[in-house]
């Protein structure tokens, strides 16, 4: 007879068999990273440029990225989009603080042709004023909508304070859109796209001659290695409240300047963060959602930049629970500093985290993402098996000490909106 009260036995995972991408060097020094074992006809290619918002205003970088297909002397934006559509291609452009990424999605039989159209469009873009005007209108509308959301207000206030001495704290405002000139966008394109190719990654079952063709096409860009990231990251904690009476909920964001995965304590901190707010069964979720019902969700995380990073906790709660929630968050942090976590909880977190690392390595695209996310920091894939080792061996005492060292309440910036 089946005894349903007893859990089936589980096995522990100690290593992940990683797939290392092929590396091909372009003439200009930039690299192509490639994984071809995908077992179907889909191909994704990412072009990554040193074209984030650090080097200009956020608005200029975002506009430039979104205007890459806005037309050349020979082709209108419609003709370009139409040509890519006919081949069943999809494009996505994303601009972050440190770089921009142009992602191409298509089927194997059409992908080289799609890349050819794309690169011709990016290299020869003329920035039609009509296209600029329309895009500005769209972006302004989106920002206006965003600025009505309490979580957005809290996030903006938090970032602009934590990074007040560096361009990481520079956010786009409605007036930035008015003052942006076509000339700024042209300059940015020239420097940060035409000579700003950082690398490209290919995930798809391509033939050698297809890779060669893409290699040739991508050689039209230069790599200049211009990105400057050494800024003043001095930080002092504050308390900020942004009133917004018409909203039903308040957003809370609490955190501080921290570090990225290059720091020796980063892997250990990930374990601490998971216990506090990094998974569904975390202390914060258990206390504030499951036991008290103040919120739909609460979590904590570390955001990494090339030379630094920050830690934050965020949630949206019913207005009347705002003060109680902050108090409960503080209690959870102080508990981690006062008492060692139990073996049971630590084992749970170890297994959960390893499962997460495994899941993030599921499939070819995921393997590429894992590679990029260490390679960007100058690390290699051994990082992940080291991470698994840290997760399996960290002690409760180390976690308590980390909480004391890095989660001191007085060092936190606390922002509330609404």
């Amino acid at each position: 007879m089946l005894n349903r009260k007893i859990a089936p036995k589980t096995q522990i995972i100690t290593e992940i068999p990683f797939k290392k991408p092929e590396v091909i060097s372009l003439k200009n020094g930039a690299k192509i990273y490639c994984i071809r074992e995908t077992y179907n006809r889909t191909v994704r290619i990412d072009f990554v440029f040193d074209a984030g918002s650090l080097e200009s205003s956020r608005v200029v970088a975002v506009l430039c990225g979104d205007l890459l297909l806005s037309g050349t002397d020979k082709k209108t934006s419609d003709e370009i989009e139409e040509a890519i559509d006919r081949l069943g291609g999809y494009l996505e452009v994303g601009t972050t603080t440190e770089h921009s990424r142009v992602s191409v999605f298509g089927l194997k039989e059409h992908i080289v042709k799609i890349v050819e159209i794309l690169i011709d469009a990016i290299v020869n873009v003329t920035f039609d004023p009509k296209e600029i005007k329309q895009l500005i209108q769209e972006k302004r509308n989106k920002l206006e909508i965003d600025l009505k959301k309490v979580n957005v207000l809290a996030k903006r206030a938090f970032l602009s304070h934590v990074f007040q001495h560096s361009p990481y704290g520079k956010l786009s405002t409605l007036t930035d859109f008015k003052s942006t000139k076509k000339e700024d966008i042209i300059q940015f394109h020239k420097k940060n796209y035409l000579t700003g190719l950082k690398y490209l990654s290919i995930v798809g079952d391509l033939e050698d001659d297809q890779i060669d063709e893409i290699h040739e096409l991508a050689s039209q860009f230069d790599k200049n290695g211009i990105l400057k990231v050494n800024y003043n990251y001095n930080y002092t904690p504050v308390r900020i409240h942004i009133p917004k009476s018409e909203n039903l909920q308040s957003a809370i964001r609490i955190g501080k300047l921290l570090f990225n995965k290059k720091h020796p304590d980063f892997k250990k901190f990930l374990v601490l963060n998971t216990i506090l707010g990094g998974y569904f069964g975390s202390r914060l979720m258990t206390s504030i959602r499951e036991e008290k019902g103040y919120t739909y969700g609460i979590g904590s995380s570390v955001v990494q930049y090339l030379e630094t990073g920050y830690f934050y906790i965020s949630t949206e709660v019913a207005k009347e629970f705002k003060a109680l929630t902050i108090k409960a968050i503080r209690e959870e942090i102080e508990l981690l500093q006062a008492e060692e976590v139990s073996t049971e909880e630590l084992d749970l977190v170890r297994n959960y985290l390893i499962g997460e690392v495994l899941e993030q390595s599921d499939g070819a695209q995921a393997m590429m993402d894992r590679f990029i996310s260490v390679n960007t920091f100058g690390l290699d894939l051994s990082y992940y098996n080291d991470l698994i080792h840290t997760i399996n061996t960290i002690t409760a005492k180390e976690i308590k000490n980390l909480a004391k060292q890095y989660l001191n309440w007085e060092s936190m910036t606390v922002v509330t909106a609404g």
Partner: protein, 414 residues
């Protein structure tokens, strides 16, 4: 081609297995054939509230999440108007943990008052966060009852009001479970690098002794043919106006669904779509315009959503939208344009079918529609659509008398 095997247990449980040798993980996906459309009109939002309660402990296991996390897994769930879907992802060697947990909550829940009380609060906060506290968050709360007058699609999965959630009782929770949560009303899909015979043995081990029950035959009120143009205006604290047009269309398993899906792409998917070209690009009347289908199993909606340019008026936009629609009805679409749209559908479906989680969910949904193998044959139905089909279906659907229009007016402009 997605290959799979199928079997059914004596208690009615349908099981699908898909082997994928490229991943260290396994997915156990459980779909229950119950959604918001099955709710009592006085207890809307119940199917979704119930989904939350499924995590509050089952008859033999006090906590669902912890043992799964201990096995290196994680999980989530979602509720739609048509169905409720639960999935677990974990290292393949630990698959039994998921089967143990899922089979126990299919057998019976713990039904604790505490869990009900807390999950009511959580869902109420979710209601506020996603539907009331967001600009345009209540769009579907307003549009659904305008478009549907008889069919339960007139309410959204979160429910009509917070009160319906507040007033739910433990008795109702129990009777909902008895009615809908049993093997005959579920489809399980397992995907990963496992052997079929082993999967069969494990599923039998954990599910075979769960008693089978009679499957409820659904008798939902059919939405009558719409014979009038409906329009409603609401004023909200939003930065700009938004106009939404909703046209009734066939359900996902019906014959003309692919044609309507393609029509929505022709009209408003991507920058080269007709509405985008005409209203956004050429006339500069809209800052954003898109079209898509809701894809429900019963009568669905083709949606056109417009964010007007600051200087544009409703009358102008309305006129130009109808011009575009009339043109599609009046003259046949060129093969070329149709091919473009079908090519895009092919790419996006190929990408959707990546990863064991997506594949499991899609297989389960198609099995619910009648045959999991639709995952391989569906695209052929899109390829078969002719320019004549597009015109015929457009003429039938894109009419004012089949349309409900919601105007969200910005407080600042009103």
């Amino acid at each position: 081609m997605v290959e799979f095997e199928r079997f059914t247990l004596d208690n009615g449980l349908r099981v699908i297995f898909h082997k994928d040798t490229t991943t260290p993980m396994v997915v156990v996906n459980t779909l229950y054939d119950v959604g918001a459309r099955d709710e009592n009109p006085d207890r809307t939002g119940f199917a979704h509230l119930f989904e939350h309660l499924m995590f509050g402990g089952s008859v033999n296991i006090p906590n669902f999440d912890r043992p799964l996390e201990l096995a290196g897994g994680n999980n989530n769930a979602f509720t739609t108007n048509d169905l409720t879907n639960y999935y677990d992802i974990l290292p393949a060697q630990n698959i039994e943990t998921a089967l143990w947990l899922e089979s126990d909550r299919m057998l019976s829940l713990a039904f604790t008052e505490k869990s009900l009380k807390i999950q009511k609060n959580v869902v109420i906060e979710e209601f506020k966060q996603n539907y009331l506290n967001q600009p345009y968050g209540d769009l579907w709360l307003e549009l659904s009852p305008l478009a549907y007058q008889k069919h339960p699609y007139q309410w959204t999965t979160i429910g009509k009001s917070i009160d319906h959630i507040k007033n739910s009782t433990m008795e109702e929770v129990k009777s909902f479970f008895n009615k809908y949560y049993h093997p005959g009303n579920a489809i399980i899909t397992i995907a990963g690098n496992l052997e079929f015979e082993n999967v069969k043995m494990l599923v039998n081990k954990w599910y075979a002794d769960i008693p089978g029950k009679e499957k409820i035959i659904r008798k939902l009120p059919k939405e009558p043919q719409q014979n009038e143009f409906r329009t409603k205006t609401i004023v909200r604290d939003v930065p700009s106006d938004m106009y939404i047009y909703a046209f009734k269309m066939p359900g996902k398993a019906e014959k003309d669904f692919p044609a309507v899906d393609l029509i929505s792409d022709v009209l408003g998917h991507g920058k080269t779509s007709r509405l985008n070209r005409h209203l956004r690009k050429n006339l500069e009347l809209a800052s954003d315009i898109e079209s898509y289908v809701t894809g429900t199993l019963d009568t669905g909606l083709l949606i056109i959503m417009v964010q007007p340019d600051e200087a544009a008026t409703l009358e102008e936009i309305d006129m130009e939208i109808w011009t575009v629609l009339e043109k599609l009805k009046a003259s046949s679409i060129y093969e070329d344009e149709l091919n473009k749209i079908v090519n895009k559908v092919k790419t996006s479906k190929a990408f959707e079918e990546q990863g064991i989680l997506n594949k499991s969910i899609i297989l389960s949904m198609f099995e619910l529609m009648g045959d999991a193998n639709l995952i391989n044959t569906e695209i052929k139905e899109y390829e078969k659509v002719t320019p004549d089909d597009i015109q015929r279906v457009a003429r039938r659907i894109l009419n004012p008398k089949n349309c409900s229009r919601l105007i969200i007016q910005s407080k600042d402009h009103a």
